[in-house]
């Protein structure tokens, strides 16, 4: 989670309107699902990966590493389609292999489309988007505050762990267990104390129960929207043409 968040926060696409990124990513996702997997899926995969790495500035190695996790599941699933089991043991099923390949392509295309959105959009922007679509502000604010809080707790836990380790607290399984227990026990009151002081800080700036902030204005650009629509149309066109030729 932390690495996805970090990439999203630093992506040059972070400041683009969520609606534009959603249009592109969900459009590609839809194409991944409806186009014939060959070559449609492959085209979607190529476009989504190239956009993420080439335009949205996600380092290729990081993109691959994050892509690999869900892709592993896809491969395991595909293996069950391509392999049969009978009295003679495992056997390769030619029909199954075609189905498996189609599934792999389609899933890879779908995953890469979604990554385009999730690697360029911090979680907090999604909450803001949901708020515009009708999520109650109280819920949205709680979600945002909790999200920020998680990072502070994580930092605290990391620092405490490092300090315990520096004092040989993780030397051997017995000690490690005791140190970890101590860390967990210390984290809870720390979290409460932190929440209390956060409220003090907010109250000092006039907190009255509503966490109003001024989100950066992001205007939707007709040029970018046209470019997105043109991309989607050409992916769809090429995919269909190549399949029916």
């Amino acid at each position: 989670m932390a690495s996805i968040d970090r990439l999203a926060q630093t992506s040059p696409w972070r400041t683009l309107p969520l609606a534009e990124k959603a249009l592109l990513a969900l459009g590609l996702l839809l194409l991944a699902l409806v186009l014939p997997p060959w070559p449609g899926g492959a085209i979607v995969l190529a476009v989504a990966a190239a956009t993420a790495i080439g335009l949205a500035g996600i380092p290729a190695a990081q993109w691959l590493a994050i892509f690999a996790a869900p892709f592993g599941f896809v491969l395991t699933g595909a293996a069950t389609l391509a392999l049969g089991w009978d009295s003679g043991g495992f056997r390769f099923l030619p029909d199954g292999a075609v189905a498996a390949l189609a599934m792999v392509l389609r899933s890879a295309a779908a995953v890469s489309s979604l990554l385009l959105l999730s690697l360029t959009t911090p979680a907090t922007d999604f909450v803001r988007g949901a708020q515009r679509l009708g999520l109650p502000p109280e819920l949205a604010e709680t979600a945002l505050a909790t999200y920020g809080f998680l990072f502070i707790l994580q930092d605290t836990a990391t620092a405490m762990h490092a300090s315990q380790a520096a004092r040989l607290g993780y030397d051997g399984p017995g000690r490690a267990l005791r140190s970890l227990g101590g860390l967990a026990a210390a984290l809870l009151p720390r979290a409460f104390e932190r929440a209390r002081r956060l409220e003090t800080g907010l109250a000092a700036r006039g907190f009255d129960g509503r966490l109003r902030v001024l989100a950066a204005a992001r205007t939707i650009s007709p040029i970018r929207v046209s470019a997105i629509l043109a991309t989607l149309a050409s992916v769809a066109g090429t995919g269909l043409w190549a399949a029916w030729r």
Binding site: T15, G148, I152, G201, R205, L211, L214
Partner: protein, 276 residues
Amino acid sequence: MMPPPLLEARRLAYAYVGGTAALTGLDLTIARGERLAVLGPNGAGKTTFLLHLNGTLRPAGGQILLDGRPARYDRASLAAWRRRVGLVLQDPDDQLFAPTVAEDVSFGPLNLGLSDDETRVRVEDALKAMGMDALAGRPPHMLSFGQKKRAAIAGAVAMRPELLVLDEPTAGLDAAGAAALLTVLEGLHAAGTTLVFATHDVDFAWAWADTVALFEGGTVTVQGKAETVLADRAMLGRANMPLPLLAELGMAAGGRLPRRRAEAVDLFRAMAGRDG
């Protein structure tokens, strides 16, 4: 008749849950427009005292006077109080909550009821003043400690309070950050803002404070002009604090005591020229 001071603490007493007596009958006066440094060792009660200055903590004994009138702690009075008195906490993580630095800084101005446009100007000004404009879009959890500190200070500065209270403002700032902060504080002071800051840093207090209050064991042992209190070796020694470096050098040189680094350099250059 003299107008009453901006804020006054009389016989202030406070004990934390569990019984630690943090303030034990503390008297202190904050005059309009002054720069007051609250100095004292760890645990002397500085933070506890500062938390009384905007009504966060309510004294168990004694009282706070605002413009000569006893402070009130109902919701409306507290809200009015906090419009006038800004507070920057010791730990910036206790203050930053929003997804980005700029959004966090906008929180206070919006709570003052300012328009979006006016808020945007305030946010830009405050961030620029703190040298944080390039990081406006960053989430707080991706900042260094000193950067967080600057963001937290910007959040209070953007509200343009009458009295700005800062708990250890320079702790954790690098030289450039501290210098930027001092420039901001100078600007606020020139614009009429009253400043109160807690610090361990006698040199910082020597360079910047008009008035100094020495804290010890939950009381003020002395409050007076910075050039008097901070040049009194015996008084500082009782509070376990060294003389400010420039004061000590000035005494050794046997002349006027320089308050700023540049003054000291000029002084020593002049002496070297005289001798050489």
